[in-house]
């Protein structure tokens, strides 16, 4: 474990915890953005430049804006004083269970053993070619999904306007 990894991991986990436990929703969102940035840092550490920067572009640049807008437009950002009534134990046990399952699956799979082999330099060109040949179906499905989501959003927004007339 190198020092940069320790710093980035600590930052990521710390901000993730802050995102869960802070009282002010906007603060939570901002901590979550820090988590996204930390994840991007981890990707960069793994020499996955493209994924790392895309993570920043999409998550820090766009998704975070989405989140804060959603918070601002839906409810008050005032921190509430009453304590949370739900005990955290259910959530924690679910999270630990999920993590254990995933960790075991990763350890059991052959992916974990291949780690010693030097990773090939993945250029953007190869990424693009793969997306356009081998993985064209998932890409198209995703595009369809996003288009459908966008259309749905537009329709909801339009209805709203007509109703207010």
């Amino acid at each position: 474990m190198t020092l940069p990894f320790a710093i980035i991991a600590g930052l990521t986990v710390g901000s993730a915890i802050a995102a869960m436990s802070l009282r002010n929703l906007v603060h939570c969102a901002l901590s979550l953005v820090l988590t996204f940035a930390g994840l991007a840092g981890l990707y960069l550490q793994l020499n996955a430049e493209f994924v790392g920067f895309t993570q920043i572009l999409v998550y820090v640049g766009a998704v975070s804006i989405l989140i804060v807008f959603a918070i601002l437009l839906t409810r008050s950002t005032e921190p509430k004083d009453e304590p949370t009534t739900v005990t955290p134990w259910v959530g924690i046990s679910v999270a630990v269970g999920a993590f254990l399952t995933m960790a075991l699956a990763v350890l059991a799979s052959p992916v974990g053993k291949r780690i010693a082999a030097p990773a090939p330099e993945v250029s953007v060109k190869t990424l693009g070619q793969k997306l356009m040949t081998d993985y064209v179906l998932p890409l198209e499905v995703m595009a369809l999904l996003l288009t459908a989501a966008m259309l749905g959003a537009v329709i909801i927004a339009m209805k709203d306007k007509e109703g207010s007339r």
Partner: protein, 410 residues
């Protein structure tokens, strides 16, 4: 002769190599990368803030002249009568903002309020790290992801703007931040799509490689700047428009429209924090201009491949083009009024976005037909394919503007 100029051209690079050689002797091994980075950063931190400082004065003088005023011409060397045409103004302004009281609203979210200017300035400065300022002069060469890095880091400024607006607990700040974020998100799309044409043609995201791809020569003297192709010409202007919006420049300066929302998201900032916002805004504009130069204006390449032009050092070409673009932006600021929010959004989604998409198609055709159709036919064809939609889209806009009726003022 030419060799001397080549030496001058590479002077910053040789200077750095010489410094590193010198330091290697007595610095421990592990500090060397850090020292090298520091040496690369220093000129950026020296040149561009200085350029910002000079731009503030030149902008005020230029705007003054455009409005038939004189503009600042008083502050020179203190305690003397030497006035330097007012170019001491930026030092006075800097000192003023340094020693002014830093007022933080009582209701503000102190931590976020404090962090916002920093979170704005850092990404803006980071964008400079991938720009090639001259031949062999790029602080951080990312052969796979240069352009992506620029946009990724640039996109994170939106959040800082939001932080500033939200934490101030001021409705004007929040309105300004909302406007800024909506505008930046909307104009980011045409910005990226118009740069994508260049990536498509050159097949690389590395900014250095993009500059080098423009080094080929036409007709024996003309460099193959992307500006000289129909898609590049149109793409450049689309890029500039989107860049102006991204950098909150007139006519897209709604987030800080003084007449409507005081100063937008930095209404509640004073003293040096305000200066940082100001600095970050201008540095963001310069970085955008630098990217435009790299993508379309041949980066540090001279326009023609003839002796007196090639003698001028490459970084001078870069800075010269940057200054020209800054002058253009000042000129535009002195000319155009501010748009309305719905006009702004409509322009982004109904005009810029379709134009950039058509431009992408034209660029693809340009690339694919390169071997089939000669240049003389390809150029007018490509241009017509862009001019017709431009005219049609523009006509629909104009029809809307001319039909405007005033209820009371006739």
């Amino acid at each position: 002769m030419a060799e001397l100029f080549a030496k001058l051209d590479q002077f910053p690079v040789t200077l750095k190599a010489w410094l590193m050689n010198l330091l290697q002797g007595f610095l421990p091994e592990w500090t060397l990368p850090l020292v090298s980075a520091a040496i690369s950063i220093t000129p950026i931190l020296a040149v561009f803030p200085l350029m910002f400082a000079l731009t503030t004065v030149i902008e005020r003088k230029g705007l003054g002249r455009i409005q038939n005023r004189i503009g600042p011409n008083r502050v020179g060397i203190p305690l003397t009568n030497i006035r330097l045409f007012g170019f001491g103004q930026f030092i006075a302004d800097g000192i003023k903002s340094l020693i002014k009281e830093d007022v933080v609203p009582r209701a503000a979210d102190k931590v976020v309020h404090f962090l916002a200017p920093i979170a704005l300035l850092i990404p803006v400065l980071l964008t400079y790290s991938v720009l090639p300022f001259g031949k062999n002069m790029v602080p951080l060469d990312l052969p796979q992801t240069g352009l992506l890095f620029f946009f990724a880091v640039g996109a994170s400024t939106e959040l800082s703007v939001f932080m500033a607006g939200w934490s101030s607990r001021n409705k004007y700040s929040l309105l300004g931040a909302m406007r800024a974020v909506a505008q930046m998100v909307s104009y980011e799309i045409p910005l990226i799509l118009s740069s994508l044409t260049v990536v498509m043609i050159t097949g690389t995201l590395s900014l250095t490689a993009i500059v080098e791809s423009q080094a080929t020569v036409h007709f024996g003297f003309l460099h193959n700047w992307h500006l000289f192709t129909p898609w590049g010409l149109v793409g450049f202007f689309l890029f500039l428009t989107a860049a102006a919006a991204e950098a909150n420049r007139t006519p897209f300066d709604l987030p800080e429209a003084e007449s409507e929302i005081i100063a937008g998201y930095f209404t509640e900032y004073s003293g040096f924090k305000f200066a940082i916002f100001f600095l970050a805004e201008y540095l963001g504009l310069f970085a955008m201009c630098g990217l435009g130069i790299t993508l379309f204006l041949g980066g540090w390449l001279p326009p023609v491949n003839i002796a007196p032009f090639t003698w001028i050092p490459s970084w001078c070409w870069f800075l010269g083009k940057l200054s020209a673009l800054i002058v253009l932006f000042i000129w535009l600021r002195g000319t155009l009024p501010r748009l309305r929010t719905d006009q702004l959004m409509g322009f982004a989604w109904k005009f810029l976005l379709p134009m950039t998409l058509i431009n992408l198609v034209v660029a693809a055709l340009w690339h694919l037909l390169a071997n089939n159709i000669p240049l003389v036919a390809r150029w007018p064809l490509g241009f017509a394919m862009l001019a017709v939609p431009y005219w049609l889209l523009g006509r629909s806009f104009e029809a809307k503007f001319t039909k405007r009726e005033y209820r009371f003022a006739n």
